[in-house]
């Protein structure tokens, strides 16, 4: 019994310093942001005006819808392509699949700003694609810069490798024996996929989608360097509220709105993760 209390004390002793750092540097600022978001700029009295501003002003509402559009398109395309790539990496054993299996891990470690900058050198109107087109007498203007499609293309660069990695790790954990058993009992490729592989990897798909979703709602560097002036992604709108208009209460309100958007996906994530199966414990 004495040993158990000692173990418990040690466990708390080890986890508490990190927990306190998070409480102090993350939770406390968040709470104070929430409080600030309900305060009037001048008087400090309670108000919801900071919130209604973002839903009633046309420009701000457009920013919100634009961000949701970009993020959802990003999640859907990235997850579908990543799933296909992960299936390929898991089930095709060849030199090429091994090569891709190595190469796809690296983009994750390239600094965001460098990657965005590199992509700009390719797709801008006087970029590589345009110059190659000119060699063949074609004046290709992709129109990706300062447009939602450019941001989505860039998001693919960051998120496909990430999502593939998450899903590949999940698919790697499915033993070959399960798949062989399904094939032996007469199930076709498609049936094996829908009844065995897909359900077993669903959890990883959800995890990957959540993180792709959350990281893109607040994305800053990509829209800052590639996005247009209007509509804007929320990360830029937030930066403007704070840096340009110096309205701290509104920027706090916008942070909370973005947090709530993220929480929806975080809730799905937590729900899937907490459903621990008995044999996993």
């Amino acid at each position: 019994m004495k040993n158990k209390t000692k173990g418990l004390l040690a466990a708390y002793g080890m986890v508490l310093p990190a927990f306190l750092v998070v409480m102090l540097t993350v939770a406390y600022p968040i709470v104070s942001a929430v409080i600030q978001s309900f305060q009037d700029e001048d008087t400090g009295a309670f108000t919801t005006a900071n919130y209604t501003y973002f839903f009633t002003e046309t420009a701000q509402r457009n920013n919100l819808l634009y961000t949701l559009f970009v993020v959802i398109v990003t999640v859907v395309i990235a997850i579908v392509l990543a799933y296909l790539l992960a299936l390929y990496l898991r089930f095709v054993k060849s030199g090429i699949s091994r090569a891709i299996g190595m190469l796809y891990l690296l983009p994750r470690f390239v600094p965001t700003m460098c990657a965005v900058y590199a992509m700009i050198t390719i797709i801008r109107d006087s970029g590589l694609i345009n110059r190659i087109g000119l060699l063949f007498g074609l004046d290709i203007k992709l129109g990706l810069m300062y447009h939602a499609s450019g941001i989505i293309v860039m998001n693919m660069w960051f998120n496909i490798p990430f999502a593939t990695m998450m899903i590949a790790a999940g698919l790697g954990a499915i033993p070959d024996s399960i798949i062989e058993a399904s094939r032996d009992s007469g199930a076709g490729r498609w049936k094996t996929f829908t009844s065995m592989i897909l359900p077993l990897s669903m959890k990883d798909v959800v995890v990957a989608s959540t993180f792709v979703f959350m990281s893109n709602v607040g994305s800053f560097t990509t829209p800052y360097l590639m996005g247009g002036n209007s509509p804007k992604m929320l990360g830029i709108a937030l930066y403007d509220q704070f840096n340009k208009y110096l309205s701290y209460n509104r920027s706090a309100a916008l942070s909370v709105i973005m947090f709530l958007i993220c929480s929806v996906s975080a809730a799905v994530y937590i729900y899937t993760n907490l459903k621990e199966k008995d044999w996993e414990k």
Partner: protein, 281 residues
């Protein structure tokens, strides 16, 4: 050999499956690596005018320009100091927490685990802006300590979740065997548990270090003008200059540390080790 350049001949020579794989590889390389290669080329282009695809004149002209900027060398030194300090300090806080979360069952464990997700769900800028208010109060604005705290916030989730999932994968029996052979708990940890959990810890360390190397938004906000890391300097130089080569040179300088670290830690980097950082168990 040249016969192979004809797609149709190539198709018949290698077969349908191989042909499709080659197309996949080509698309993959073009999308993920061509931007980086193009940027590498631009960094060594003295003259790069529309419409030429390759530079007219190669050389180190822009490297000379970038290194001629006084701020650059100091920004590199500051970046390294901050990145190393951030990594060491977050290891001190997070590794014990990770071990505790992996090895002990106690009330509140899930809450602790979840608290680290907060850093990823709330918009970073929202946290930075309200933390800035706190920093002003305690005189942390424009100091190394302030910037390091900001950088730690970014990496805490990985620094706890990744090693935690690595610790969980070390079998308890192996630790017990070491204890039975007479090793003390501390010795067991350093001789048995830590080496086996190394891949997860290595990837987490890599993330923390690189995350700190590339962080710009929070550093700009909290560092005021006094602390200028490389990415902050890059924003300044890139947005002020018209020559695309300057940004390319800077981006290459920013990628070098990542490339070196990835090379050193290459045997640890794999989907299984990385994916653990996104799962809550």
């Amino acid at each position: 050999m040249f016969k192979m350049l004809n797609p149709r001949r190539f198709y018949h020579a290698v077969g349908k499956k191989k042909f499709l794989e080659f197309i996949l590889l080509a698309v993959f390389i073009l999308f993920f690596y061509e931007p980086l290669l193009n940027m590498l080329m631009l960094a060594f282009a003295n003259e790069y005018n529309v419409p030429s695809v390759l530079p007219k004149e190669w050389g180190f002209k822009w490297w000379g320009y970038v290194f001629g900027q006084k701020s650059l060398v100091s920004s590199m030194i500051q970046s390294f100091i901050i990145a190393i300090a951030t990594t060491v300090i977050s290891m001190i806080f997070c590794i014990p927490a990770a071990y505790s979360l992996a090895r002990f069952q106690y009330p509140g464990r899930k809450v602790f685990m979840l608290s680290f997700l907060l850093t990823n769900a709330f918009p970073k800028l929202g946290i930075y802006t309200s933390i800035a208010v706190l920093f002003y109060k305690y005189g942390l604005m424009g100091t190394y300590a302030g910037v390091i705290i900001i950088h730690m916030i970014n990496s805490m989730m990985f620094m706890v979740w990744l090693p935690s999932s690595a610790f969980r994968n070390v079998h308890r029996q192996q630790e017990e065997a070491a204890r039975d052979a007479g090793a003390s708990p501390v010795r067991t940890f350093f001789k048995v548990t830590l080496p086996m959990a190394m891949p997860g810890i290595a990837v987490a360390t890599l993330y923390t270090f690189l995350g700190s190397m590339e962080e710009a938004q929070g550093t700009m906000l909290v560092g005021l003008a006094r602390i200028q890391t490389m990415p902050v300097a890059m924003y300044g130089i890139v947005l002020d200059s018209s020559a695309i080569q300057i940004g390319a040179v800077f981006a290459i300088l920013l990628i070098i540390p990542s490339a070196l670290l990835i090379f050193v830690m290459r045997k640890y980097i794999g989907p299984e080790a990385i994916a653990g950082g996104f799962k809550m168990k």
